[in-house]
Symmetry: C2
Subunit: 200 residues, 2 copies
């Protein structure tokens, strides 16, 4: 196999963030699951500013199985959305499509149960499309733009090159590659590990 | 991203086989788990001639969790070996290394429970190194040799190039890429899907 040379990569090391299964909730669904007017409490700040893992968890129930302790992420959003890995999909009996956040047309629904009640999400279960959060300034310096697809190289015995990694830029983002647990486990990556972007 | 051309690949389509977590047993351990002189019964023939999934399953118990219904594969081997995905490793509380079958030095052990008793495997839990079973004649025609490392290209939105895929040749093998469930789920591959080998 040909090995890569330094000049094959953009001059940046991207830390990995591993997203476990989680749920984003809208106000209406939070009310139904946790009680009217309920407010999420912060369990842990996430790497992207303002985002947090809440103390609150829910149970999600698919046609073939159940996952308990699914973490709610805050803050609230205009829509509810469940992000799982395909391994979870097999346990639940669902085959969600790979989507960017918020792109929920024709996605499967699921039953969600909280301490104050249950709801039937009519849609919103996705496999998150892998993406790199990047500061706008850094993207400009690297000649990358929002929504660009790049390839990412992962070193090691389970090394791989990931196609179709979406660059997402904002002045508020912090550099990080977001993978789901299947992707991270397949590549033997943990949070904080560093990967490289192949020159487009 | 540069797209691949036909001439980038070897002229062969490799079907995928997805290996769920499973255990291989030696005679002594089969006796301890299922009773002295017990014989495995065939649940399903596997793609490699002579190999089969047995009706028998066991429970494996790690420091942090339990996996029930772990399939025994036959025939018996000179050593017992447990092959899991890293997702299973997190559930069990184990971090096994990536190894080829039989290379069990310095691998973690695990408790295994069957209907006739429990054993403590002192070692033998691995993440299987991904590999392609290939007929010797075909390997020769493709100018590949046993133990050669190649790269495999997976198409699609979760497309990737897998490094360090080991070619394993034998006159008895049938062409197939073996991946564990994390690798298959990360790449959205199912058994029978076709992938390509990049020219070395």
């Amino acid at each position: 196999m040909r090995l890569f040379q330094a000049e094959d990569f953009l001059p940046v090391e991207v830390p990995v963030g591993v997203s476990g299964r989680h749920i984003h909730l809208c106000r209406e669904d939070l009310d139904a699951l946790f009680g009217r007017g309920y407010e999420l409490t912060v369990y842990r700040e996430l790497s992207q500013p303002g985002e947090f893992a809440a103390r609150e968890t829910v149970t999600i129930v698919g046609p073939r199985g159940v996952l308990e302790g699914v973490r709610v992420l805050g803050p609230l959003r205009p829509y509810s959305q469940v992000e799982i890995a395909m391994t979870d999909g097999f346990r639940l009996g669902l085959k969600p499509p790979v989507r960017e956040s918020g792109d929920l047309a024709d996605t499967p629904g699921i039953a969600v149960v909280g301490p104050a009640g249950a709801i039937n999400l009519p849609r919103g279960v996705i496999l998150a499309a892998r993406h790199i959060h990047m500061e706008e300034d850094r993207a400009k310096a690297l000649h990358l733009h929002d929504d660009q697809l790049v390839r990412v190289w992962v070193p090691g015995i389970r090394g791989m090159i990931l196609d179709n990694v979406i660059i997402r830029t904002s002045p508020h983002y912090r550099l990080e590659l977001h993978l789901d647990t299947d992707e991270a486990n397949a590549a033997l990556l943990s949070g904080g590990d560093k990967v490289k972007i192949l020159r487009p």
